[in-house]
């Protein structure tokens, strides 16, 4: 309650700040007077001759100089008189003065620079027309600028007159344009991608102004696909998630495991979005690769510090992956062959320059090799995955654009006499971009995201098909209002309907199994947000926002009542409350203030502080150390409370102009409450009273991250270092509800030191060399405090969890990229571009410890042994071939 009160207070203060920045104070009494307008759209004539007289406001003016027929649109009906007058004189040769309780509208020879006009439009890549997300436009005259949003839209309001505008985007040639602003103008810019040869000659550097226009958010990483594609990977498999592990603050439990952990958060606390749509399971194939096909990716945004207010629903991080739209100028085909996957991507215009498509597919082929084996024990093995993306977009007219996207992915495995398992995501979305006017941009999204997991047992009498599923139906809208370079407003909202079907088993024809169906769970999650980015003065920028969220668990459903004074078990159920369809079972409301202050110390450095408040209503139930594809999701309700989190971050950011290095140092503290944990041996499968297996914990993490990055020049790459600690405490009321006696203990992914260095060097036009080095403290591990014999088994006895550690982890990888021949023997330029990537993972064959196994000795079952298990103990070479027509 105390916390909620605190949050409400903070929310109220923020509200006040936002409001006070929106409304400027007028100078004197008459102009400060509040009046109510009859309509929000009025002629100047109506204001002067009807509204003002009705409030007994005396005003003197000459009909010759006042534009009586001009229409003014007011944002609200209640306004101060001064505000109304400001609207009347905007962009007119007029001025208003207040003297002796009377207002005079006078002629004023307004110079051109006092007029303000907006240039707006889209910034795209020349040749493909892909939006350049985060490209920026600057007026060199008055040093004001704007950044293109996720759809390439920008809006920059400038004084009238001549401007030299410069448009920049990394890896692209800048454009300089001289414009004379006399009215609101639409300007679309197309930037040429920089040819690699040119990189030898030009050493780029960002301007100071550009630095100051970098957004205020903290703990943000934008991965550049050009860079991501060039670093070495395990088996040459380029992957967004694997590359994100090289950033500070992001770790995982070990090689060959699914799930990534950001700043001490569990892996279900990451909000993973593909083109605005939420993805429930973002891994394929033992966590080796993510569901995002690297060929189709345009932009990767990772937020681990300050979360933009439009994102929420998860506690730990936001990873928004945006796919490319597809080239709307010409057709192209690209793809690659690798040891794990092979890929193909087609893109091209549907109607040139107006609409395009992008279709891509990936699949593993290696288990086709085993299918040929004579021994069915091997040929029956399945371990494969495939995914398919299709995206279409159409420019309806200059203000409207529509997108249709689809993703279908499936993993499959079967080992020996085991069951066949299949799982995957299906996501379909429709988006509409609408430009309301030169300053207001909006995007509307409707999507369906489904994750399903299936188990198929074909053995005659035991046959069955088991499924679990989660489906989201969501609608959302996001608005960006670029009032002027000093004020940017973002607002929007969303409603999502969750349908969870945690378990259903249908027996086969001759099966002796019973049909079991746990039914489905329904919930509605919604939010609304508003944020304001304001330049308070040339040095201080503030981004503040509020997010209101709501979650309702709805019937039909049964809620068990448990006897009080004891831990919940199926034996302590005393009653069942049944809810009918659509009936409200439990509702939660939350308010989340978020605020970031940026102080520009000088032209190249800045300080930032941030506070973010978060909530998570959907929980993944996984009683294993790393997530499994069979994990089910559960909505917050009567017993499972929403998880809440607070994060504070302080950071220092510096740009070294000469060497074009970007550096940052951030310190963070994060505390999360109501984190789901599990009783020892929890049975989560087909359990209608799942709350009897759940525990609730509090986690806290703090750390310090250093990041040094160089995007430009022949040598590029980054260095990331994190010093951190993350812990969890599970201290329930009863003995069965405690872990480690209710004290804080390290999380499975708490690595004290985490260092990664990635470097890419363009040796010449043909060769690019790259390398990664990773060093991490070994992850927390549990050593047995003893052993005993039970029923002939030797049982390692554990009293405490995660009080020990594995040895430190380190690894070096190298890769070389060889560009294919670009000139034919007859001297003509080849149409096909191709390149080879040769990589060596774990160059010095480090045998990193994945786990210790405490077990009976294989030679002598009477004795026990400690076995060190390493997933990789040798150098792993690989080669991939990539092409583009």
């Amino acid at each position: 309650m105390e916390v909620l009160r605190c949050k409400m207070k903070l929310a109220f203060t923020l509200c006040m700040i936002i409001t006070s920045t929106v409304f400027c104070l007028a100078q004197s009494s008459l102009s400060q007077k509040w009046i109510e307008l009859p309509k929000d759209k009025l002629l100047v004539e109506e204001v002067l001759r009807e509204v003002f007289p009705s409030y007994k406001i005396q005003i003197s003016y000459s009909d010759n100089i006042v534009p009586l027929k001009k229409t003014i649109r007011f944002k609200q009906k209640i306004n101060q008189v001064g505000k109304v007058l400001d609207e009347i004189i905007r962009n007119e040769d007029l001025v208003w003065v207040e003297e002796d309780n009377q207002i005079f509208l006078k002629f004023y020879n307004r110079p051109e620079y006092e007029y303000s006009y907006t240039i707006s439009g889209k910034i795209r890549e020349q040749g493909t027309n892909e939006p350049l997300i985060g490209a920026y436009i600057l007026s060199e005259e008055n040093q004001k600028g704007a950044v293109a949003n996720a759809y390439g839209f920008y809006s920059l309001t400038l004084p009238g007159g001549k401007h030299n505008v410069k448009v920049n985007f990394i890896g692209h040639e800048s454009i300089e344009e001289s414009i004379h602003l006399t009215k609101n103008t639409v300007f679309n810019f197309s930037l040429n991608p920089k040819l690699q040869e040119l990189l030898d000659v030009v050493v780029e550097s960002k301007s100071e102004i550009e630095m100051s226009y970098q957004n205020t958010l903290m703990g943000t990483n934008k991965l550049n696909m050009d860079v991501v594609g060039d670093i070495p990977y395990f088996l040459g498999e380029v992957d967004v998630f694997q590359s994100s592990l090289l950033l500070p603050g992001i770790t995982n439990v070990g090689e060959g495991t699914s799930g990534i952990n950001v700043r001490g958060g569990s892996s279900d606390q990451n909000l993973i979005l593909l083109d605005e749509a939420l993805i429930y399971n973002s891994h394929h194939f033992f966590g080796l690769t993510s569901v995002f096909n690297p060929d189709a990716v345009n932009d990767i945004e990772i937020y681990k510090g300050s979360y933009p207010v439009n994102y929420g629903g998860r506690l730990s991080s936001v990873m928004h992956i945006r796919h490319r739209d597809g080239n709307n100028e010409k057709f192209s085909l690209s793809g690659g062959l690798g040891l794990i996957t092979s890929r193909l991507l087609l893109e091209g215009p549907i109607q040139k320059s107006k609409s395009s498509y992008l279709i891509s597919g990936r699949s593993t082929f290696w288990d086709f090799l085993t299918r040929g084996a004579n021994n069915p024990a091997i040929s029956d093995y399945r371990a494969n995955f495939r995914d398919f993306n299709a995206k279409f977009n159409f420019d309806i007219n200059k203000n409207n654009k529509i997108y249709f996207s689809g993703y279908v992915g499936q993993d499959e495995n079967k080992f020996g006499l085991d069951v066949l398992r299949k799982w995957g995501n299906d996501v379909f979305s429709m988006r509409l971009n609408h430009i309301h006017n030169v300053k207001l941009f909006s995007n509307f999204t409707a999507y369906i995201s489904n994750y399903s997991y299936r188990v198929i047992e074909e053995d005659d009498k035991a046959s069955f098909v088991g499924t679990s599923k989660i489906t989201d139906y969501a609608l959302k809208s996001d608005f960006n209002y670029f009032r002027n370079p000093e004020h940017i407003y973002n607002f929007g909202g969303s409603v999502t309907f969750h349908r969870l079907a945690p378990g259903k088993r249908i027996p086969g024809v001759s099966s002796t199994n019973n049909e079991v169906d746990l039914g489905s769970e329904h919930a509605v999650e919604s939010y609304a947000y508003f944020s304001n980015e304001i330049k308070l003065n040339p040095k201080v920028t503030m981004t503040s926002g509020l997010r209101f969220s709501h979650f309702s668990l709805l019937g039909p459903g049964d809620v068990f009542m448990y006897s009080s004074g004891t831990t919940k078990t199926i034996n302590t159920i005393v009653d069942t409350v049944s809810y009918s369809s659509g009936e409200n079972i439990k509702t939660f409301f939350n308010v989340h203030p978020r605020i970031t202050l940026k102080y520009q110390l000088n032209e190249t450095s800045a300080l930032k502080v941030n506070y973010s408040s978060l909530v998570q209503y959907m929980h993944r139930l996984s009683n294993t150390i790393t997530p499994s594809s069979s994990d089910i999701w559960k909505a917050s309700g009567t017993y499972l409370k929403p998880s809440t989190g607070d994060q504070f971050t302080v950071g220092y950011y510096k740009y070294f102009k000469k060497s074009s290095f970007e550096a940052s140092a951030e310190a963070f503290y994060r505390k999360n409450k109501n984190i789901v944990e599990f009783k020892g041996g929890a049975d989560l499968l087909f359990n209608p009273a799942i709350e009897t297996e759940l525990l609730s914990g509090t986690s806290r993490s703090f750390g310090f991250e250093v990041f040094l990055k160089k995007d430009l020049g022949n040598l590029s790459g980054w260095l990331g270092y994190t010093l951190s600690k993350s812990e969890i405490m599970v201290d329930g009321e009863y003995e069965e509800e405690k872990i480690n006696n209710g004290t804080y203990f390290p999380t499975d992914f708490n690595r004290t030191h985490d260092l990664s260095l990635s470097a890419i060097y363009r040796l010449n036009k043909k060769w690019t060399l790259s390398s990664n080095f990773v060093y991490q403290t070994g992850r927390p591990f549990s050593f047995p405090s003893g052993k005993y014999n039970f029923d002939g088994f030797i049982v390692p006895h554990y009293e405490e969890r995660n009080r020990n550690r594995l040895p430190d982890y380190h690894r070096l990888d190298v890769a070389a990229r060889l560009e294919g021949r670009q000139i034919k023997k007859n001297g003509k330029v080849k149409k096909t571009k191709s390149y080879w990537v040769f990589s060596m993972y774990n160059v010095y064959s480090r045998r990193n410890t994945q786990a210790y196994l405490f077990r009976e000795s294989e030679e002598n079952p009477e004795q026990t042994e400690v076995v060190r298990y390493s997933l990789l103990g040798v150098l792993v070479p690989s080669v991939t071939y990539n092409f583009k027509f």
Binding site: W366, I625, G681, D748, Y788, F790, Y852
Partner: protein, 292 residues
């Protein structure tokens, strides 16, 4: 069927298969690791069944994991079992220290009866189990064998056949039933962690259903003795947790390590952690021989 193992052994196999097939690079080696020595705990275990034979209760202590000496059984304890009708059955220590036997002519478990174990350690504390009901076991209808191709034999040998066991169980309707299978092949109990077979009737209640054991392979000519035990829910949960802890599988999505708590308590100090389990079960036995 062994749904409780869903992501333990399977994921191990996945990971191994993944290694073996793609890379053949994962490796294991036995090492010396300094392990902390925790507090000594009392371990008590024993079963009452319907078989007319002496039942065993063992009383011992935990030792350090690296300690390779034999289990130090606790001698001289007073061990007895009470049944629902307050009959007391004393256990007598055998030549093996810490091992106590009942008198087979006095105590034979009967389905429906409930039992509680008491152990008073001389010069130590008094311990007791929770009450365990000896549940009736469902009929083991038939036992037969199916063939599989041995994954451990060379890929090139198409005839590398092995046998695995299947059984049809006539499940008792209207109650939750929990089972354990103990398999003796040529008179040797299969007792490796991956050879523990437990299952329940969660999805087959009241039906004649089949279960199969895919982790124990037999050869032609092998003789099988199969014991089907009835477990209480508590014993089943205990075994599930035990399996997750002794499968020594920290690869892939594995269960976090935890204390395997049983149903034994210290009467003098409620806070004292006591390990082990005292259970009661009806056993039905079937014999079969693998014929080609």
């Amino acid at each position: 069927m062994k749904h409780y193992q869903s992501h333990i052994t399977r994921w191990k196999r996945n990971t191994l298969a993944f290694c073996v097939f793609i890379l053949a690079v994962c490796c294991e080696d036995s090492i010396n690791l300094d392990l902390p020595l925790g507090a000594e705990r009392i371990v008590i275990s024993g079963w009452i069944t319907n078989l007319e034979e002496p039942y065993t209760v063992s009383v011992s202590r935990t030792v350090g994991f690296n300690d390779q000496t034999t289990d130090p059984g606790i001698s001289g304890a007073e061990v007895y079992v009470l049944d629902r009708f307050s009959n007391r059955f004393d256990f007598v220590e055998t030549n093996e220290s810490g091992t106590y036997h009942s008198n087979a002519s006095e105590l034979v478990g009967t389905p429906g009866n409930a039992y509680v174990l008491h152990v008073n350690i001389s010069g130590g504390s008094q311990y007791a189990s929770a009450w365990e009901v000896l549940n009736a076991v469902s009929d083991l209808d038939t036992v037969f064998f199916d063939t599989a191709f041995d994954p451990e034999l060379p890929i090139t040998d198409p005839n590398a056949k092995v046998y695995f066991t299947k059984g049809a169980i006539n499940d008792i309707p209207n109650v939750r039933n929990f089972y354990r299978w103990k398999m003796y092949i040529n008179d040797t109990l299969k007792n490796k962690p991956e050879e523990i077979v437990i299952f329940d009737d969660k999805f087959t209640n009241g039906n004649v259903f089949e279960t199969k054991v895919t982790d124990v392979f037999l050869k032609s000519g092998d003789k099988l003795k199969l014991e089907q035990w009835s477990l209480s829910q508590r014993a089943f949960d205990y075994y599930s947790l035990l399996i997750s802890q002794i499968s020594s599988d920290q690869i892939g999505p594995s269960t976090p390590p935890s204390t395997v708590k049983g149903n034994i308590f210290c009467l003098d100090d409620q806070e004292e952690l006591v390990l082990g389990y005292f259970g009661a079960s009806e056993i039905t036995v079937k014999y079969a021989e693998v014929t080609p």
